[in-house]
């Protein structure tokens, strides 16, 4: 009898608790849930966009690579793997004079320009076009249109420091074909390491390479007209 009464009392109390708890609600959670819930449609569209974007990006990269890919030099393809000596010219007197002049100037490199009349190599120190009135008078239009790429077209980069005796020459210029990786830090980032490039190497009398000039009319700068 007592147990029945206690059971009944417990049931009543449980009903009271349940009735009290009916007031419990948290409507303010709606905004939080709607903000934090990522619905499948949105997730699916994001995933599909990702699946579309990746092929498009890959195609764009491929198109850029094909556009700027160096065109193979059909005339030299047969001998690409061999080192080729193309030019061997020397002219000690003008070279020495210009190298000495170049040493007196605070320059980082020397520019060699072929002297067709003398059939030799003429070294000319790189001077500031702004400070040299002769250069300004000779080629004022070049000062405005010359790009860094065009500038590097005729620039020899020293490979070894030259002594007084070595400056006397004679020099030889050897045109070689070599893998792009051989340039080391001089290699343009657009040149692949296994790509064959063409360069002019300035050889001293002892046969050591003193300076190198990448032939920009070759295949390593394909955006430039040949």
């Amino acid at each position: 009898m007592a147990d029945t009464h206690q059971e009944q009392l417990l049931s009543d109390l449980l009903r009271d608790v349940a009735r009290d708890d009916e007031r419990l609600e948290a409507p303010h959670l709606e905004a939080r849930i709607l903000a934090s819930a990522s619905l499948p449609e949105r997730a699916r569209s994001a995933r599909s966009r990702a699946w579309v974007m990746w092929p498009v990006a890959a195609a764009a990269v491929f198109a850029v690579a094909v556009t700027f890919r160096p065109k193979p030099d059909t005339t030299n393809r047969a001998v690409q793997d061999s080192t080729e000596v193309a030019v061997a010219e020397s002219s000690p007197a003008p070279v020495r004079k210009q190298l000495e002049a170049a040493r007196k100037q605070p320059v980082r490199s020397v520019r060699l320009q072929p002297d067709r009349s003398a059939r030799g190599v003429r070294l000319q120190p790189e001077r500031s076009r702004q400070s040299d009135p002769d250069l300004r008078a000779q080629a004022p239009e070049r000062a405005t249109v010359e790009s860094p790429v065009a500038h590097s077209q005729i620039e020899f980069v020293p490979l070894l420091p030259m002594t007084e005796q070595e400056l006397a020459g004679p020099f030889q210029i050897v045109r070689v074909q070599m893998p792009g990786a051989s340039l080391g830090s001089l290699r343009s980032p657009l040149v692949l390491p296994n790509e064959m490039i063409e360069a002019d190497v300035l050889l001293g009398e002892d046969g050591r390479a003193r300076a190198i000039r990448v032939n920009t009319s070759g295949s390593i700068y394909p955006w430039r007209p040949r």
């Binding site: 007592a2 609600e25 499948p40």
Partner: protein
Amino acid sequence: MTNDPSDPELLERMAAGDREALAIIFRRHHRTVYRFSRQMLGSKEAAEDVTQDVFVALTRSANRFNPAVASLSTYLYGIARNLVLQQYKRSKARIEISIDTIFHEEDAALATAADPAESISRTQMTRQLRLAIFRLPVHYREVVVLCELNGLSYEEAAQVAGCPVGTIRSRLSRARQMLIERCRALMNVESAAEKEHQSEEEVGKRWLILTKNNC
């Protein structure tokens, strides 16, 4: 004549990206989920977190819901139960701290009661009962919460708990026995108070107030 869409229809719309469908589902079911979480955990903040996680989980696993097996509310109870059990494993101390939150709300309700003396005694009883429910082992507590406080049938509670109906029956019976044992002293006092109330209404009511305050 109402044209309220059914839960499966709303779930289909929600799966197609309809946020309004999610909002309707939330308004329809958030009370049951929140109440269950709060009754199990005793903490307002923890219950809100669980409620939010339940509906976020629903958006991710809406395709797992099979209306032929159970109702959406039962499905949500199941998700909430799993999250509550995870919460239990992480922190058991939170329950003891947060009981006061519920008591404060009851005190606020007391102030508006018509008969303060009777309300005080009833509130004391329900407080003790809540405390006893919170101190039940979790498997017994969930059965009491589901069947007694939320009105689920044994079959629905078995689906939520993932156990046979017989287990629910036996757990509920055992849980009620435990609650009676833990509140026995209180109930004896209550029984005596009722007898007094029948014979001498005024005197008994005063006595009831005194005994409840001493408990």
